[in-house]
């Protein structure tokens, strides 16, 4: 499995062959607070890099989820839909959002590695 990459919209992505697993970062969950609702893209639907790919809602507000790469959704994580608190508990492992078949691996090039993302999230504060 390849290195985990991060987007400026606070999503993480892990690539295994041409299947990418995507979720939101620990930092994102800390900003959002307690998550109480999640909506995921349907299996079989296509998503476009930086486009909308679901919604998370905390007790405070709704936030869009974006996909850091384009592709076809092959699986979504029903367990976080049923129990959104899992996202706060383990955002970067168990509480992944969806898996997609990646269209163009070069889209990963613009994403950050762990160190870059940590620096980015500290500096942006958002």
């Amino acid at each position: 499995m390849s290195e985990v990459k991060f987007s400026k919209e606070h999503e993480w992505i892990k690539l295994d062959g041409d299947v990418a697993t995507i979720g939101i970062t620990q930092h994102a969950t800390e900003m959002l607070g307690d998550i109480v609702f999640v909506e995921l893209p349907d299996k079989g639907s296509s998503v476009v890099k930086d486009g909308n790919a679901g919604v998370v809602e905390s007790t405070k507000a709704a936030s869009d989820v974006y996909t850091p790469v384009s592709g076809e959704i092959i699986e979504n994580n029903q367990s976080i839909v049923d129990d959104p608190a899992k996202i706060n508990a383990d955002p970067e492992n168990e509480a992944w959002f969806f898996k997609l078949r990646i269209k163009d691996k070069s889209e990963l090039d613009s994403l950050m590695n762990k160190n870059e993302y940590e620096k980015f999230s500290k500096e942006s504060g958002s």
């Binding site: 607070g33 307690d34 109480v36 609702f37 909506e39 919604v55 809602e57 905390s58 007790t59 405070k60 507000a61 709704a62 839909v81 959104p84 608190a85 706060n88």
Partner: protein
């Protein structure tokens, strides 16, 4: 941004508060444990709320004051018992609500607790309505600290002897460190609790004592989920200048005798709304799934007609379900009426439901 800070600001910071600007104040939206934990702590033990941003108004005056206030408010004030609190409204001639408030008969006058966002305009309006006949003081020296939850009485009693004898919606003076402070048994969470009016300089030490006795600081986020579960209105959202107490489904707060006798601002409108009914009315709404319908969400009937709008909505940590309040055309306000909520372009099924969503635990002596 030059937001005011309450006397508890540094204490909030110490407990990991995340701040938001609210009605001109820097207020904690949550602390380190988060909204859901804070909410549950209040329901199970006792939460402390810094509500010092709210206005604490004192109007000095004898018998003629109660008479003059009855010309403004739809409550019975002339025969109010000493230290009795009433929930009331400041309205315009059309019964639109300027503010909702708690008015308490005290020695030598009345105390009124006002919403933070409205307090300065309320003050000006009241001065005008009372023809500057009375001394009115909107305190900048007092903090207001609420403690709410099933253990509130037990905890507060350890610090202030005798408070647990207070009846709901009643207040009194109590001794704290050889000073007199005014405490009412009231709150806005659906739990038993107290509101303590205390000098700014004493507020922090007092609050730390509550914490040491087992209460925990709670932010605006949980305050919102708690009051929503309790079916209580938030001014500026569930009620405002374009809605009357009748439309807001708060007729219970208007004294029966005053509805008969009249003589307060907005009376004609309220009388006619009671007799002829209202076009729109506030209702409780329960979405079928977990979807959250927030303020401004459009409400549709089964035959796809736009029949209203959500004014507050969230996920209720104690009821473990989504919940909302909103205004619908009166013909759709019957309990169990099926409706649809349009969230992000999709329509989700929901139904009209009884309020409150969460059953209250108020103590004896409750009066309206």
């Amino acid at each position: 941004m030059n937001n005011k800070k309450t006397a508890l600001n540094s204490l909030h910071k110490k407990y990991g508060a995340k701040f938001v600007p609210f009605a001109g104040y820097e207020m904690p939206i949550q602390y380190s444990s988060g909204i859901i934990e804070e909410h549950k702590y209040t329901r199970e033990k006792a939460g402390i709320f810094d509500v010092s941003h709210m206005g604490q108004l004192y109007i000095k005056g004898e018998n003629s004051l109660a008479e003059d206030l009855e010309k403004i408010f739809p409550s019975e004030l002339k025969n109010a018992k000493l230290n009795q609190s009433k929930y009331s409204f400041l309205m315009n001639d059309e019964a639109g609500i300027y503010d909702d408030l708690i008015i308490t008969k005290v020695e030598g006058g009345f105390n009124i607790v006002l919403n933070a966002a409205c307090k300065y305009s309320d003050l000006e309006l009241l001065k005008k309505l009372l023809d500057n006949k009375y001394e009115i003081n909107l305190s900048e020296e007092l903090s207001l600290i609420a403690i709410q939850g099933p253990e509130a009485a037990k905890i507060l009693e350890k610090i202030i002897y005798g408070v647990s004898n207070l009846n709901f919606m009643n207040g009194n003076w109590f001794n704290y460190l050889d000073k007199n402070i005014y405490i009412t048994r009231s709150g806005y969470t659906g739990e038993d609790g107290f509101e303590i009016s205390i000098k700014n300089k004493d507020a922090e030490v007092f609050t730390e004592k509550l914490i040491n006795e087992g209460a925990s600081l709670i932010g605006l986020g949980a305050r919102d989920t708690l009051r929503l579960e309790a079916g209580l209105c938030l001014y500026g959202h569930d009620m405002d200048i374009n809605k009357s107490p009748i439309e807001a489904n708060l007729k219970w707060a208007i004294s029966k005798n005053r509805i008969v006798s009249g003589g307060f601002i907005g009376f004609e409108k309220i009388k006619s709304q009671i007799e002829k009914g209202v076009k729109k009315v506030r209702v409780g709404i329960k979405p079928e799934g977990r979807v959250i319908a927030r303020e401004k969400t459009a409400i549709f009937s089964e035959d796809n007609k736009n029949i209203g709008e959500i004014t507050s909505g969230t996920f209720g940590p104690s009821i473990q379900a989504s919940l909302a309040m909103g205004y619908v055309e009166s013909s759709f306000s019957k309990i169990d009426t099926k409706i649809f909520l349009e969230v992000r372009g999709k329509k989700y099924p929901a139904s009209i439901t009884n309020l409150p969503f969460y059953k209250k635990n108020y103590v004896k002596g409750a009066n309206k």
